[in-house]
Symmetry: D2
Subunit: 279 residues, 4 copies
């Protein structure tokens, strides 16, 4: 069911890889809701993913970019403005990667070049995106910029590694630049802290399935899916949320406000009651 | 501009007094967006306010209730179910009052009967509303319940008095009951922490105008108005935010994430530079 | 090992019942550290507990009081001032009780008289204590007031019931009154958010043992004991923490900053691997 | 007045420049409290500051190090262990610098090489320090590691620039590594979020004096001084706070829990009442 919530709005969506991606789902919803947008991802992701199908479905173009490159980002914004014949109204940043995670370097044995790359790709890219757009004056008044985050920014999760620090930095950048964008341009900048999602990227984090079972049982409404996250993004791009800015918004079925649920506790307690599974 | 975001949805809106009320503005928007709802307020508020005009405009009924009375609340839900011929999908709680504020009792000289009344009206009423609705099974699956709060629940504001404590309690009740509603009924419960708003109720707080100037200059997007808050409520009643629960959501132009803005600092610094206004 | 950290300081300790009590352990440590203090608890608690032994050990007196009674609290402060021949320097509030928990009323079927009593005993008593002390000018400059809280104030825990709301209210009162005490008297007011502790009071909460195992495995340093909490209280009563006020301080082995630990996850995952304990 | 709180403890203090430094004051207090420690700072800081005087006063050595260099940090820990004939019990990280601030690059025109350097010096250095110490097994069980932070990590302050993001990253690193240190070594890791302090480093931030007046009037106990912060550090290095970990601890006279104080509001309101200072 569509509402025309984004009718007439233009945007840029970074990070759609395949249909599991939150960015992909957001593109589909935004299209349904009447928005036009361009898509961007790295040349590698474009080659290995299926983002060209998405572009066809949404009748749009793909502009390749390494989001750590200021020049590439300038190109994405310039091309998008050219494509639309005007500024954009919304931007989605769904970008993150850790070489330490990929190479199985644990947190007490990080490679510092990898760490810097994690921060550059997953957090500084957001500052670069915002700074490029600011200098090009590329976003309309009352526009909306979103980045995707995770609760590891506030609470340590086993094996989430340096991505936790990158997300904390990302959220800080959203606040810091949100102040300037609000003051100077009446544009809002927020992050969504989404449930763990079995995206192709997310699946890199070890012990993902046990964790997802736990968060699902802890969350009174269960884990939020990529599609549900897309719906939430739409409301934050719409004109109905104009005064929400500099926030980190939990979209997680209630997980962030839980200390312990009945369901998770029962599952946890099982490990004691069964004599076959004692330490 | 309307989107039919609440088409087919039924609700109950507590606390509309006059057109300055957030509840009033939310009723207007909900009506525009295709919802049907009943209105409720105290007999006194109905007599002194203009809620009957609102009822006419929205083609609905008013069900008087003292929100501290379980019986009255049962009546509101029963009558509403009868009116709609079925359960409701959303509820707005916009209720708060402090006799200590009204009678100018400062925080270090509170009257404890007044304090208990503040808590009963401004916070326990929300629990009662939720418990009554739970027992009557009055809310549909994936329904949404909202209460209005204020940042005084987290940070002390001069002269906000025992309302700060009432709001902290209100937000806690939203979390506690949100867990149960999520788990048992797939219903979400949240609070919106709104900018200071010059409602008829809000004007009771002393030094309100100085404070509102300060928060307006501190907030990169300025204070949020009652009408803007109404828009935000609509998104939270809609089907696009199904997995947001147990949250306190700041709708405040960015105030909650600010330490000090340039604008507010400049105004503050003026008091030093002018020799006419030294202590 | 003692440091004379509280040498010359006078105080009042509310809520010691038996040697499991945090208040009891704090009394022992305060005594070791050179403080003098009076003890207070309800007549019932004094009768059923063993606080007279503690009084003997610490060479002090017990002043019975129902902490919901302003008159009783006035008596505690007056008698204490008389006992010391002067004002006090520190106060510990370790008071909480829920009839809803005791009578097994679940959160969606609360008795409202019980709920009000929970709030009165567990939270308003702290306001009353602070207001009485304020009016009597009973606390010295740079004095320190502490109340004990729990993370349920921020995150919902199965079966913690209306005590969660009471703790949220308690923490808000600490902030609100902390502002006034700081401004007017240079006195600090804080809450400690302690690990779940197997006190005689705490044992009333259902499913306590499973929960304590979980929090112990989640907390990198394990659950904090009553004795360790007592040590922390001493630092907050000392002259080394003069500018810490209006804070809720987690003393929990790191639990509050954890999303998921390896240890807890391994225990949780066991419930899947053993075929004998499937649903 | 000293208590022997750190008797027999060994430590390393990074970042003492001159007597305004928090690290300097902490060294003096730690010495008074019976600790032995080594001092470290960059060769430049050692040349331009007066840290050799401090070393003389505290009868200790200085080990120069660029805290972004893993090799230099290894040297600091190895030399310190050699100096003491054993492991250390506490470490203070008081290190931060932004070239963007120095070169007056505003937040919407950051130089990215400078930004990366800000993060490397002010945040990654803390990870490096912790990782080096972890690999060398350089810290005793129940040891304590502290870093100094600022509320800009949570709330945007005009002109604080990319240091806000660096502090957010620093606090995240403290949590992430605190989990591992707690689990593996029973060592705690925390940050102190201190009032703005007129250190030689802090004076680099523009509009510092107006801001310090504002925070002083907002904080019910006034701004906390470097010396008071040193006292607080001592308690966190002592054996009385063993179960406090992964926390960001506000030492700010209450500022972090304030929305608006009477004092600050009165000063703010002056700018309206004087006709000479209207816009």
């Amino acid at each position: 069911m569509a509402y025309n919530l984004l009718k007439g709005k233009k945007g840029i969506i970074f990070g759609a890889l395949d249909e599991k991606s939150i960015a992909w789902q957001t593109a589909l919803k935004a299209y349904e809701e009447g928005a036009e947008f361009t898509l961007s991802n790295t040349p590698t992701a474009i080659r290995f993913g299926t983002v060209d199908e998405l572009a066809k479905q949404c009748k749009t173009i793909i502009i390749p970019a390494d989001a750590t490159s200021v020049q590439d980002l300038e190109n994405v914004f310039s091309k998008s403005i050219e494509h639309f014949g005007g500024k954009v109204d919304f931007v989605l940043h769904s970008i993150g990667m850790s070489m330490n995670v990929r190479k199985k370097r644990v947190y007490n044995d990080l490679d510092y070049d990898y760490f810097k790359t994690t921060l550059d790709i997953s957090a500084l890219s957001f500052h670069k995106l915002l700074q490029v757009a600011f200098k090009l004056d590329a976003i309309n008044e009352w526009g909306s910029v979103l980045a995707l985050s995770y609760i590891a920014a506030q609470r340590t999760l086993y094996a989430y590694n340096d991505m936790a620090d990158a997300k904390a930095l990302l959220e800080s950048i959203a606040r810091s630049f949100g102040y300037i964008y609000g003051r100077e341009r009446k544009i809002r900048v927020n992050t969504i802290s989404q449930s763990p999602t079995m995206t192709t990227a997310g699946s890199g984090v070890r012990v993902m399935s046990g964790l997802m079972d736990f968060t699902d049982r802890m969350s009174p409404l269960g884990n939020a899916s990529a599609e549900e996250c897309a719906n939430y993004c739409i409301t934050l791009f719409s004109d109905l949320t104009k005064k929400v800015t500099m926030q980190n918004l939990y979209h997680d079925g209630g997980f962030s406000s839980m200390g312990m649920s009945n369901k998770a506790m029962q599952m946890y307690n099982k490990s004691f009651t069964c004599e076959h599974c004692q330490d």
